[in-house]
Subunit: 358 residues, 2 copies
Amino acid sequence: MSSESLFGAVLGRVLPVDKFWIEQAQARQLQLTKPPGSLGRLEEIANRVAAIQSTMVPSIKNARIVLFAADHGVCAEGVNPYPQSVTAQMVANFVRGGAAINALARVAGADLEIIDAGVAHEIPETGGLIRRAVARGTRNFCQGPAMTRPQAVEALMLGIEMADRAAADGCKLLGMGEMGIANTTTASVLTAALTHIDPALVVGRGTGADDACMARKRSAVDRALSLHLGHIHEPLDLLTRLGGFEIGAMCGLCIGAAANRCAVLVDGFIATVAAALAVQFKADVRDYLFPAHRSTEPGQVPLLEMIGHRPFLELDMRLGEGTGAALAVPLMRAAVAAFTGMATFASAGVSESAGKDS
Amino acid sequence: MSSESLFGAVLGRVLPVDKFWIEQAQARQLQLTKPPGSLGRLEEIANRVAAIQSTMVPSIKNARIVLFAADHGVCAEGVNPYPQSVTAQMVANFVRGGAAINALARVAGADLEIIDAGVAHEIPETGGLIRRAVARGTRNFCQGPAMTRPQAVEALMLGIEMADRAAADGCKLLGMGEMGIANTTTASVLTAALTHIDPALVVGRGTGADDACMARKRSAVDRALSLHLGHIHEPLDLLTRLGGFEIGAMCGLCIGAAANRCAVLVDGFIATVAAALAVQFKADVRDYLFPAHRSTEPGQVPLLEMIGHRPFLELDMRLGEGTGAALAVPLMRAAVAAFTGMATFASAGVSESAGKDS
């Protein structure tokens, strides 16, 4: 079986959640000792997790953030204030435990896996690093396709493999994270191509581009779209021509999680484009996605509309790494804890409403 | 010393946070291995907690939710779909551990204290309950003042006592919670009186008022304002004439927390009115407040503007009990964990920007 056929087989395993469980969960919510609907979106979270796991006693066990790092050929266009070598330096920082995601995953009680999906430079420290580089960075999509079709499939299958491994480890909640200097440029190009929105509206300052940098970023996005849009006929073309290895892997992680009936926390802009791409591959992936936070990047807005869920947190963050996903892990736990741990009106002897009270 | 003089003495202990620590914290944030400002509002949280604790190694130890329950005379006006007896029933549910706040505090790793600040009905279960009822519910403020001036001071001092006790126990983060059938009506009246906003704009559906209920609620608010507004000259008049015992106690908790240099998570609408009242007593209390979530109640919006901070979570919740505060505890921990746990550019060997890279 070719890699592409294997990928197609995984897509075939992704099924929508069973509405029966949603209805069962909604009925239980009405019995819990609170006014109907008063826990707001926590109720929707719990109901969907119950449906994903096909149980009235869902759990958020062994939450895990999976962070894919890769480099981007478009970095050569001067779209970013940081040098490309920072990707490798930050991967070393992740491995040593010194980055924001390390602190946030730790305090959230989530495991953290770091995967080299295609970093260009030598990574100075590698203890614990999962080395699975598809190549040493993508090519510059201002000049040609970012990767080959087999490379795109390899990136997708890498994410699926990580989801399968997490499921085998009993993980009930995955979070997506990424690191890749210049990857907001890649995400902007993909967003424009996915949503057909004016590219000027989806290019943001990323980690801190100044005006000259922004002008180069906009130019790179425009040139990439001119070069490739006419050749894009299916989701795999998008990833091949305009993607990044970490974006392909995160897309695969969403698909693999859905195939394993595991909930996924979507991080910021880059992760959201990967999730939206996964929804292009198979619309039912949507049922497994939980956007964690609203990034300051403007391009995330139309992608969230494609995915069809509102994010939980609005903290003006724009770091990536899975930091937003890690912050949302306790919210998912709380939603499920209320659903499974609360007393019912009957068991607690609490009156449901004035009409039912003596 | 009279209770009122004691209260004045506590207000005198509330000081603004020292800007020196804010600046020190901001400088440290720039050294951490992330683009400047990329952790967004998590950075502001950590910087303010550092300033509150006057240290570069702040902590969120022994987080505690303090839940005050009390009844409201205005309940007799038919402003709520639940009977007044539900307050006592829910207090029993809190004590037994079956309510939403029990599940959410547990999963957040926060202690939970339940205080009877003035419940009208017999509480069927009381193991662990802190019995400090100022009276068995307030009087109906559509007919006269809700409480006496000494009762208002007693409610405030109850909150201060709970803050002092928490500080003595090493608590570095307090969360405010409340339970009281009909207390969104009380909160709406207080909000209109505090903000001078059209009362029609600050009356919401609370835990689920239907149209007839809403009409009675609006009428009660209008009559209360007509009766009392001319007699309100200082914050204590507001609490005395239009308050609730749990609102007074939560207001005292904010003031007591500030006096003890402890951060406070503000919950939903009712808690926010108590926090805004605390800011009326002493503007510097503001420096210690962290609004946790945006409630669906419209009256919370102008109160948040008075307090001057944006909430973190927008989950369409309208339950109270401190549920929003409990959800925000992990966010506070995360903000502080990133601040204290991350590597610096120098220690991690990460390039700060293209300009500084070779």
